[in-house]
Amino acid sequence: MSSRPRGAAGSAGERELLSAGDVARTIARMAHQVIEKTANGAERTTPPVLLGIPSRGTPLAVRLADKIGEFSGVRPPAGALDVTLYRDDLRRRPPRALEQTQLPADGIDDRVVILVDDVLFSGRTIRAALDALRDHGRPRAVQLAVLVDRGHRELPIRADYVGKNVPTARTEGVSVLLAEIDGRDAVLLRPSEAAETPGEDS
């Protein structure tokens, strides 16, 4: 959750799933899919609202919005939605710092909201995000965009836009690195040692 550097380069057994170039191409493809599905840029359609889930969903949402703007001529607003206060694992962990929530000034009522996160794992983060959204207003529809879907869902949740499906073992770790936070773009697969438990970066 914090801006800790993930998967320091060169640690044993680490495998690069997506390079910096792959990440850029993947985001561009997802932007095209969003345009197609939401008819963004067409007349009389309100553009969707992209809400990134901190920490790495936030810059991803901005990049996706930039690309959508580039391809369709209409840049949808991008914001952030912190879900810490809605998590179901708060009791089990030391108190976490809260991250920023930034919604468009005119709210999310009757808009299509696209939640953006780096990795989809157990689905618990997205459940928390859906609860948080409900307290902010009533979107017309909610969709989900993730850079990596690594499987192992614990809730009936699926993504509408997936950058890359990665079959993983539960004990493996998937790290998304983004230049805004980590200094470079990459997606890494770590072997079991520093396993992330489901529900953490899900």
Partner: protein, 310 residues
């Protein structure tokens, strides 16, 4: 963090974490349809007040409710305390009945500390909401939050605390917290209203308000606590007001960016002129507003996590 009993000895990193959480809470609740977060659902918070209070008790109650905790208010005058039950027995009763957190205000200094000792076994958290003339840590935190909002950072800012420092738990908590956060504190008060051992506190002392005002970034006016005064601390209310009250004339001596604070309840015309209290420099209503967010943040840090290290 298990308890919040005092700002004396509070880790500046913890204080900063609470203030940052309060900022984010304020931001996230701004303009929302539903001003309620589910974070503390199923937690029970009891306010146990042995002294009168409006703002602190209401502020804690709203904070708890906005975090979805169940909040129960006990005041000494309408409880078994009236029948002679001791503080310890009352506290153990509340803990046995299922309180996860007891917020206590008591006329005796050190009451919250004792309570934390008695409640260590049931594992109930204790928040000090003012104990005698000792401390009132959440007030200091909300003052710090308000100052951070107005001034940016507290580092190297100069804050004057003016008036009845001797009887003020607010002053004591602020002295320690502001110093820990890197501010310079100057106490301005008549010698009779300075606490014993003031030279051991991280402050400078002055008796001349006019001389201090041009150099401060904020001035915190304290209420003259007549109910705690047994004896003549100053010749007359009028003389006190002339020497230590923040009048309109004095306000003009302040730098333009300076903030005026008062923990309330205010005695208008005594320690602060009405026009000053209602001026744009005054952050008095913001203090109350920030109080809710700060107390939400405190409850979050105390109660959100079950296995949290102390």
């Amino acid at each position: 963090m298990k308890h919040l009993l005092a700002t004396d000895g509070l880790d500046p990193a913890v204080a900063t974490a609470v203030l940052d959480t309060a900022d984010e809470l304020k931001h996230t609740l701004l303009g929302r349809e539903v001003k309620k977060l589910p974070t503390l659902r199923g937690r029970t918070v009891v306010t146990l007040f042995y002294e009168n209070s409006t703002r602190t008790r209401v502020s804690f109650e709203i904070a708890g409710k906005w975090m979805s905790a169940d909040v129960i208010n006990v005041s000494a005058s309408s409880s078994s305390v009236n029948k002679g039950e001791s503080l310890r027995d009352t506290a153990l009763t509340l803990a046995a009945a299922g309180a996860d957190c007891v917020i206590v205000r008591h006329p005796a200094s050190g009451a919250a500390q004792r309570l934390a000792g008695w409640l260590a076994e049931p594992g109930t958290s204790v928040v000090n909401a003012g104990d005698g003339t000792h401390e009132h840590p959440t007030q200091a935190l909300l003052d710090a939050a308000t100052l951070r909002e107005r001034l940016g950072s507290l580092k190297d800012r100069r804050i004057a605390i003016v008036g009845d420092v001797l009887h003020s738990r607010v002053a004591r908590s602020n002295i320690h917290l502001l110093a820990a956060l890197g501010a310079e504190v100057v106490l301005v008060a008549p010698p009779t209203l300075l606490p014993y051992g003031v030279e051991s506190l991280p402050v400078t002392v002055s008796h001349d308000l006019d001389a201090e005002l041009p150099a401060v970034d904020a001035v915190m006016m304290l209420r003259v606590q007549a109910e705690r005064m047994h004896g003549g601390f100053f010749p007359s209310a009028r003389e006190y007001s002339i020497a230590y009250g923040l009048s309109e004339r004095r306000q003009k001596l302040l730098p333009d960016h300076a903030v005026v604070l008062h923990p309330g309840p205010m005695l208008r015309g005594m320690e602060i002129a009405s026009a000053v209290a209602d001026s744009p420099a005054s952050a008095i209503t913001e203090q109350v507003r920030n109080g809710v967010h700060v107390r939400m943040a405190v409850l979050y840090h105390l109660l959100a996590s079950e296995g949290a290290a102390a």
